[in-house]
């Protein structure tokens, strides 16, 4: 608790004690009216002096519908009508409610910022006097910093010395540690687990990944959602409406009674009007809705999903159609050997021969073959490597002449080759002029891609569409494999934009279309979609800028996670809106009929607020 909160707590304790004494005294000696008034005024002022002061300020600044002013009018009115006990108690409960709210919000604010606490506040630098801690803002780009085991890397850079494993959970939500050695790029916000490393910084502190993320999440409030707008508009009309209602309630019924010749009963009607004022504060709504969004955004960011504002949470919750790019989103975007077919020898040996032949080439396909071999080629076994541009290579391996390349190479050498029925790049191999089989190289589907699509369906997405620049023949098998509903191939970036526009025009008015891409090539599509999601954005500022929702790592399952967070937040928001407005309306009705008094009004008010706040905090927990 802060000092301010502790002070309020003491005021509450003291005034509760004094109210009990007052009760006991008035029961024991039944003091005269004026003595009773004086007695109750002591705890009233102890608990309410700041409210009264703020109410006076409000009058000076012409802020009449300020909750302090309303509370002051309600309690002073009650006391003036001789209901001292109610006056003091209402003020007391109001303060208890405010204290609870302030503590609860402070707590969740702290737990959310702990989740997002990515930036260390010092950096270790080696100087003549040994290792010193300095302010991260003062570290220049290109300086060498030291990160001890257990510390967070403060600034983006490259490891120059030391081998370690890194915990990137704070950025990506991925709990498996990643090994890193000299030359590896490291992002700020990751935790150095095992060894001491030296890092040469490549960015300033304020431009580093962690600082960027913090800035983004903290500024997420700027994009206010419809629900938040609704609540602030509601609050703007609700309070004045209730106040005018109170005035009408205080004046009209007694006048009507006078006209009909019965006693006006001013006191009872004014008391009912004051009860209205107690219910007039929309606190529960005003506090709980931004709290829900903040908790949802905070909880999601702890899982490696950044949402740039509550407006996007809201549109994400209405997403029924998800379009996504293939390469890099659902596939790894790197070429790997997917199979060895029709081999005349053991598959490993054929792969070995191909790797040896390609050992001089820097082509990505050559590199993927060498990588699949798992070891560096023994160059002594190869001689007479000759590259035939656009076709492949020929070489002599272990004394046998080998040709490794595409169909054109085979045709040129007059070798009868077999076509491959799978999609991908095919590398044929001929040994001594005889066909020896082929290697299929394909972009690998991410291991979680299938799960990602089914998770989306579970989260209520009706239509999943794959949009890709690749040929349909390559795209359709991938789409079938992962379970996407529709697939469109051979699309240029502008075609993708047009496709997304078509999807947007085909959906219901209330639904939204999300597009998931890698954030670089797909930036225009991400911008055009109702919700633009960038994947694998760790270390890419451009992607973070372009998208509404950013998935830090490469895992497509997180798309569904983001959707679930959004749904849960919106559900909590609606629950709170319905619950709080419902209870207030019931209290207003009961108050007007004289069934509910001030006691019930204040209990309902504080109770609704407590429940709504507790409900909001649920948004922080994400499965």
């Amino acid at each position: 608790m802060t000092r301010k909160q502790k002070k309020t707590l003491w005021r509450i304790i003291v005034s509760v004690a004094m109210l009990i004494i007052c009760e006991a005294l008035s029961a024991a000696i039944s003091p005269p009216r004026w003595a009773g008034l004086l007695m109750y005024l002591v705890p009233y002022f102890i608990i309410g002096y700041d409210i009264l002061k703020k109410a006076c300020m409000g009058i000076i600044n012409r802020q009449v519908f300020d909750e302090n002013f309303l509370m002051a009018v309600a309690t002073i009115g009650a006391i003036a009508l001789g209901e001292y006990r109610e006056g003091a108690a209402v003020m007391l409960f109001y303060q208890i409610g405010e204290l609870f709210q302030s503590v609860a919000v402070g707590r969740s604010r702290r737990s959310i910022s702990e989740l997002m606490d990515l930036c260390p506040d010092f950096v270790n630098i080696e100087t003549e006097n040994g290792i010193e801690s300095v302010d991260p803002d003062e570290v220049e780009v290109g300086s060498e910093i030291i990160v001890r085991p257990g510390e967070r890397i403060p600034i983006d850079g490259v490891i120059t010395e030391g081998v370690t494993s890194l915990d990137t959970a704070a950025l990506t939500g991925e709990s498996l540690p990643v090994d890193a050695q000299p030359g590896a790029k490291v992002h700020s916000g990751t935790i150095n687990i095992s060894g001491l490393i030296r890092v040469r910084t490549t960015k300033a502190f304020c431009d580093s990944t962690a600082s960027k993320i913090m800035e983004l999440v903290e500024n997420s409030g700027a994009q206010k959602s419809h629900s938040e707008d609704f609540i602030s508009k509601f609050a703007r009309y609700y309070t004045p409406a209730v106040c005018y209602g109170a005035i009408a309630l205080a004046v009209l019924p007694p006048i009507i009674r006078l006209i009909f010749g019965s006693s006006p009963a001013w006191g009872s009607w004014i008391m009912r009007a004051l009860t209205f004022l107690v219910i007039s504060c929309p606190c529960a709504l005003v506090i709980s809705i931004p709290l829900t969004f903040f908790a949802g955004i905070g909880g999601a960011s702890a899982k490696g999903v950044l949402i740039k504002g509550s407006a996007y949470l809201e549109s994400l919750s209405r997403t029924r159609c998800v379009a996504f790019d293939k390469t890099g989103t659902m596939t790894l975007g790197v070429f790997e050997v997917a199979g060895v077919h029709h081999s005349v020898m053991e598959e490993r040996r054929l792969l070995d021969i191909a790797a040896l032949a390609e050992s001089g080439s820097g082509h990505p396909i050559a590199r993927s073959i060498i990588a699949a071999c798992g070891k560096a080629p023994e160059l002594s076994r190869v001689s007479e490597i000759e590259e035939i541009p656009g076709c492949g290579v020929t070489a002599v391996i272990d004394g046998i002449s080998a040709a490794v390349g595409n169909e054109r190479l085979m045709e040129r050498l007059g070798v009868k080759y077999r076509r491959c029925s799978h999609s991908g790049t095919v590398v044929h191999i001929a040994l001594d002029g005889e066909y020896a089989g082929h290697i299929l190289i394909a972009d690998m589907i991410k291991p979680t891609a299938r799960e990602a699509i089914s998770a989306l369906k579970l989260a209520g997405v009706r239509r999943t569409v794959m949009l890709t620049g690749d040929m349909e023949s390559a795209a359709i098998p991938v789409a079938e494999e992962i379970g996407a509903d529709e697939v469109y191939g051979s699309l240029l970036p502008e075609d993708k934009v047009r496709r997304v526009e078509t999807l947007i025009s085909e959906k219901d008015a209330k639904e939204t279309v999300a597009f998931v891409g890698d954030g670089l090539n797909d930036a225009p599509v991400i911008a055009r979609a109702d919700v633009g999601i960038a994947m694998g954005a760790l270390g890419s500022d451009a992607a973070i800028e372009a998208a509404d929702v950013v998935i830090m790592d490469d895992d497509p399952v997180k798309i569904a996670l983001a959707l679930r967070v959004a749904r849960k937040c919106m559900r909590i928001v609606y629950e709170n809106i319905v619950f709080a407005i419902g209870v207030k309306l019931i209290c207003l009705a009961l108050g007007a009929l004289g069934i509910a008094g001030m006691w019930l009004a204040i209990f309902a008010d504080v109770g609704v607020m407590v429940i709504a706040v507790l409900n909001s905090i649920r948004a922080l927990r994400i499965r």
Partner: protein, 73 residues
Amino acid sequence: MKKSYKIDVDCVNCARKMEDAANKTPGVKSAVVNFMALKMNVEFEDGADAKSVMADVLKACRRVESDCEIFGI
């Protein structure tokens, strides 16, 4: 020019009042208060001096919410 300030304020409503007050202060193009993050993001008019404008903003905020605070002016 945009700048971000840490603030301290008790309730959402008070934060909204601060936002309104800041937006009405001359020299401020737009101001957004994020109660949850306790931050005020201010975009200044071209050529405005951030320091003196923020002093006015604080004064305006204090008038509507006596116990608020803006840090790092």
